[in-house]
Amino acid sequence: MLSDIFLIHPIKSFIRNKRLTRNILSYIVFTFTLIYFIVILFFIGNNLEELLGSEGEDPIMKFNSLIFFYLLIDLIIRVVINNRNGLNLVPYLRFPIKRSVIINYILVRNLFNLLNLISLFFIIPFSWKIIYFKYGLIEALNYQIFLPILILINCYIASTLKLIIRKDIVFFSIPIIILISIAIKSVRQTILNISGLLGEQILNSNYFLMITLVTFLVVIILILRYLYSKSFYLEDAFRKSYIEKSSQTHFLSGHYNKSLTFSYFILELKLLIRNRRTLQTLIIYPFLPVVIIMGIIDGKHNIFLELMFFILILGFFPVLYGQNIFNWESAFFDGKMARESNFTDYLCSKFYLMGFISLIVFLPTIVLFIKHNEYPLLYSSVFLFVNGFINLFVILAGAFNKGRINLNEHYFLNYQGFSTIQLILPVFILIFPVILLKILESIVGLQAMIIICSLAGSFMIIFHKFFIREFIEPLFMKRKYINLDGFRKLYE
């Protein structure tokens, strides 16, 4: 019976995952990504000597000095993306299964967390290829035992933090990461030294340190076990994040009789900020100033590479939000299509929202560009181009989506509603403009390119309603029944 819960059910849950079973392409992408990362990590582990020791430094010392940074990044990733429990526990709470058994299961299952496993793919080859040959067997084994212990400590600390915080911190993570990065920058050398010392002590079989690490691991597991036992109730399993606490926006009432674009715009804004998945589509924006400050301004740069970054960040929200605009939950569309309303206005409101969000991000950016004299006109023209061409094209592509997307689910690692077009579109949309700009620049020069981009973007923005009415709306109406049927499917 326990093997069913702890082994067979998780496997079935994964294999029969409603997001993966939707199409074979998702499986292929998932498998490919996993293999890709494993190969990359294995490659890194195998070639760390060359990668780290390129400037005549000892690669092991360099590796040691980076342990803390690795652990920090690992911790942040775990806190942001890991689920609180590895298994949906609600169905099991009513059965005569001891809670302590389930808690122990959760703790053991943490051991097999993907992040724990993938770290082994570079730790093991690094230990055997470099440590073993330079120091010997004991030192290599020390590395292979105590680095995973450090990672396990990280793993359980992340679970403990998740349990204590009890908030959906994905959205807050970026400002937190920026603050941590700034804080670390000031004490970087100290951290490098301490980290190097830690690695050195592991290498030198400092048993006091090893016992301390093991003791710390046991203590953190016991703390986590205690916290689980105290919080193991349905209200915790169902505990809502701050976003979920605000009522989900089905927005079927009241506003339709107005039939005004502005009303739709307000509704779309509510949809965006009151639902977890839509809100997470905004996550990229706090990165924009960071990228601009660190990457573009005052750097030695390649203008087109930077333009690509700029378009990537500016276009990220339209790609994430805009291409899914038709397939957020089904009830809205059933209600929408059953009422007499102006579909063009409705689509325009989405176009305005995309532009509005881009503008909010762009305004502080352009101030920085002007201040640092970094081609403000070029970036302004690209802004117009993105908001004219890309946003309309994204909405057009959205008409091909026919998978339901639940608004309150996580965005990350969630393939619900994803089909082939979602995989191809971002690459196309974000790379195509750069290629186009490059071609334009090489033919007509930078100044002319700026003018052409500005005019083209402005033209599309001015005549957006025409394009929406003449191209996007008819396309959606043509696919209406296929799409609506797809939106209703709960399991897709």
Binding site: M1, L93, R94, Y233, L234
Partner: protein, 239 residues
């Protein structure tokens, strides 16, 4: 007087500072069919969740067969329940789900098959042998049937069903009423159920409690007058 199956004392539960349930004392006898009625938000589901130890009370105790539910889990071995769809393991087929539950309650495959056969009328040919159709792919009504069947599979001494008639077609509602009566008659099962349909509650329950704003406002035995009495609490015209 029958033995008490459920004993509740000074039970209180609040959510965000608002009292959702406050019951000074409530006893449910062994072998009783106990109905709970009340408007949305009256506290019906909260009461069931507290009884099943799915949420922790702010104060007070719940005992099932003299076992303090928060201290021991022994009561789960003779309790069947279905509150909502989160109780289902939706990536399993109904057969896998039923056999898994059977395993938990130490039932043999023959016993499970026999029980499922006896539920054939309730399932009306819609649940079993559906060629690897997962629970999540069934309609709401059929998922409700799967959940109810999972609760009664082990012939529990205590059965708790939250709004079991929801989503069911009229035929299935009628069959479910028979199932509830038969379980109570044949196995002396104590049954707690809630419903918004006063007719259903009056038809099957021995005793009915009305909850309003988390408090018991009426506790009565079911008889010819009960429907009218209950109706008066909900300001609805007599049908």
């Amino acid at each position: 007087m029958n033995k008490q199956m459920i004993k509740i004392e000074k039970l209180k539960k609040s959510f965000n500072g608002k009292t959702a349930l406050e019951i000074d004392s409530l006893n449910i006898e062994d072998g009783e069919i106990f109905g709970l009625v009340g408007n949305n938000g009256a506290g019906k589901t909260t009461l069931f969740r507290l009884i099943l130890d799915l949420i922790s009370p702010d104060q007070g105790v719940v005992k099932i067969d003299s076992i303090l539910v928060s201290k021991s889990e022994l009561w789960k071995s003779f309790t069947g329940s279905y509150l909502d769809e989160s109780f289902l393991i939706d990536y399993l087929t109904p057969e896998e789900f039923f056999y898994f539950i059977g395993k938990i309650y130490s039932l043999s495959r023959e016993e499970i098959s026999s029980k499922l056969t006896s539920l054939a009328t309730f399932f009306s040919g819609e649940i079993l042998n559906k060629n690897r159709k997962f629970i999540r792919e069934f309609s709401s009504g059929n998922r409700q049937k799967i959940g109810i069947a999972s609760a009664i599979l082990s012939n529990p001494r205590l059965l708790i069903l939250d709004e079991p008639f929801n989503h069911l077609d009229p035929t299935s509602q009628s069959v479910l009423k028979d199932i509830i009566r038969n379980l109570n008659r044949d196995f002396k099962t104590t049954i707690l159920l809630s419903s918004h349909n006063l007719n259903h509650v009056c038809e099957v329950c021995h005793r009915i409690v009305v909850l309003q704003n988390g408090q018991i406002v009426k506790d009565c035995k079911s008889d010819n007058q009960t429907f009218a009495i209950l109706n008066s609490y909900f300001n609805a015209p007599l049908s």
